[in-house]
């Protein structure tokens, strides 16, 4: 098996002002090369924390994280992150935002023209080649998120980490970008780990859905394999019995077996 990302017995404890907060407990997860995995759970269950661990932005309190058999010690361009709120630099144009990433990864071996061509190609891939010279505040939220994805893809990462990338978008734009993402992932054969709280999004996109229990000390409750053929079409799937079944499985987990932590505590 070519397991690509391995999380072994990861624990995450945050030291807060109110004391220690046990966020993640005993996380074990393996992601295969070329696999699309989503992390789903109620808000505050630590799914973003887990993603940050894989990204290397935070270091686990205990446990081991491996990417391509090497320990994850710090963030790096081979694990590109698309942040929840796009995080484009407002003083740079779309092209410059992407170029900043490209320059860092390929600057040593390629000429300036090649680097610019790469940046433009990445923006073309997400359909943003019409807005090269625009600044982030001049384009819509969906476009910003596309540029964010382009920036991540331009680095040719081994893994694409998406932290609720479509969370702040309206339903139509979100659907559109999901379809785009499906195409891009199919074309680039990327390995993707994505955080979401949207059940439909998870079922539509994933090969496997990692369902997390509620925090504190959240852990992986269940992992659901979604065996729907690709390419997937959201209209056809809407009436597909397997799709409906997967969707119900996730909803069941989230609402019947692991209702909101607030209710349990009350």
């Amino acid at each position: 098996m070519n397991s690509f990302i391995e999380v072994q017995n990861a624990e995450m404890v945050f030291a807060t002002r109110k004391g220690r907060f046990h966020a993640l407990h005993d996380i074990n997860l393996t992601v295969q090369k070329g696999e699309f995995v989503t992390l789903i759970g109620h808000s505050g269950c630590g799914k973003s924390t887990l993603l940050n661990l894989v990204a290397g932005l935070t270091v686990p309190t205990a446990g081991t994280l491996l990417c391509d058999n090497r320990e994850i010690a710090a963030p790096g361009p081979e694990r590109a992150v698309v942040f929840q709120n796009h995080s484009l630099l407002p003083w740079l144009t779309c092209l410059e935002n992407v170029h900043l990433a490209v320059e860092r990864v390929f600057g040593a071996n390629e000429t300036k023209a090649q680097l610019v061509a790469r940046s433009k190609a990445a923006l073309a891939l997400v359909g943003m080649d019409h807005a090269l010279t625009k600044r982030p505040h001049e384009i819509s939220g969906g476009m910003k998120q596309r540029v964010g994805i382009a920036r991540a893809l331009a680095m040719e990462p081994k893994v694409l980490l998406l932290d609720e990338p479509f969370g702040a978008l309206d339903a139509l734009t979100r659907a559109h970008l999901q379809d785009e993402l499906l195409k891009i992932v199919a074309r680039t054969a990327s390995t993707v780990v994505m955080v979401t709280h949207d059940v439909d999004e998870a079922v539509l996109l994933s090969d496997r859905i990692v369902m997390m229990t509620n925090g504190p000390a959240a852990t992986i409750g269940e992992i659901l394999s979604v065996e729907l053929p690709r390419p997937r079409d959201r209209i056809e799937l809407a009436e597909d019995t397997r799709y409906v079944h997967y969707r119900k499985e996730v909803l069941d987990f989230l609402y019947t077996r692991h209702g909101r932590a607030v209710q349990q505590a009350a």
């Binding site: 932005l57 361009p77 995080s87 860092r104 982030p136």
Partner: protein, 304 residues
């Protein structure tokens, strides 16, 4: 943390937008400055006179009130000059601003220029030291903890308390005045730059970490642009302080300069000149501030 007076970049935006709106409102009539008698087409949707009146009339009324009260109070006074006398004197002073009759008698133009030069040198050096220091304090927590108490201690010290130190070290009046400007105008720049660095959104720094940017790129592409609006606020506050301090410093050190001019005219008991100086100091301060506000506006970005 040191607390700072700062203006968020976002606050400058509504003003800018309002300005744009006004500009648009002013656009339709071809020549809005023309008196109403000149416009032969009254049917056209006319300029919003009411808004203009609301903007222009109150300041004029305020100024008129001040001059009026001044005139009333000085009607029977023999020592305090009337507005009319002061105005007549001002016309005389400004008709020949650049004469030079020895070191103690020079035109008001020279006095202003010499003061501005001292401010430029002192303030420039403060910027050269203060802004990089602010960056370092913002970036390194250890340094922040080390320097913050010192800043809190030294910042409220009156400008004039620094003057003897300058005189002692430099053994000359002019460098001592420049030193006083330097030490008084450095604090807003240090503090605002440091606060700006500390408030750089964590997201941007995360981007830098994921992209694995070099420290130089982090500095030029992320920190500097993000901090610039804060920094410019510091610069603005500093310039105001510097201009505030120069008058006091020059009063004590002498030489050619607007502050010394005030003191000299006091010794000559020429109150009209003192009043003119106060007005001039105010106007120059206002212009300096406006200049930097316009610079700051150019460098603020829409953070959406």
């Amino acid at each position: 943390m040191v607390s700072a007076v700062f203006h968020s970049p976002a606050r400058a935006l509504p003003e800018a937008k309002a300005a744009v709106k006004n500009a648009v409102a002013a656009a339709p009539p071809a020549a809005p400055v023309q008196p109403p008698t000149a416009s032969v087409r009254p049917a056209r949707p006319s300029y919003d006179w009411r808004e203009l009146g609301f903007k222009v009339v109150p300041p004029i009324v305020g100024l008129a009130l001040l001059v009026g009260i001044w005139a009333l109070l000085t009607m029977k006074s023999t020592t305090f000059p009337t507005p009319a006398a002061t105005f007549a004197e001002a016309v005389k002073v400004f008709s020949d601003p650049f004469y030079s009759k020895g070191p103690n008698d020079q035109g008001i133009g020279w006095n202003i220029l010499f003061s501005l030069q001292r401010v430029a040198v002192g303030f420039g050096m403060a910027a050269l030291v203060g802004i990089p220091l602010g960056f370092m304090i913002g970036r390194f927590e250890v340094l922040n903890r080390m320097v913050s108490p010192l800043i809190s201690l030294l910042r409220p010290v009156s400008p004039l308390a620094w003057l003897p130190i300058g005189l002692l070290v430099f053994k000359a009046a002019n460098p001592a005045a420049v030193w006083t400007i330097f030490i008084c105008s450095i604090w807003p720049m240090i503090i605002n730059t440091a606060v700006g660095v500390q408030r750089v959104p964590a997201d941007y720094l995360n981007v830098a970490r994921v992209l694995n940017l070099s420290e130089w790129k982090v500095m030029t592409r992320i920190l500097f642009p993000a901090v610039l609006p804060y920094m410019l606020t510091g610069v603005r506050l500093s310039v105001s302080t510097a201009w505030l301090v120069i008058v006091a410093a020059e009063m004590l050190t002498g030489g050619v300069g607007i502050g010394f001019w005030v003191w000299d005219e006091w010794n000559n008991l020429n109150v009209q000149h003192i009043l003119i100086a106060i007005f001039v100091i105010g106007v120059v301060g206002l212009l300096l501030e406006q200049l930097l506000v316009s610079v700051a506006k150019r460098f603020t970005y829409d953070d959406v």
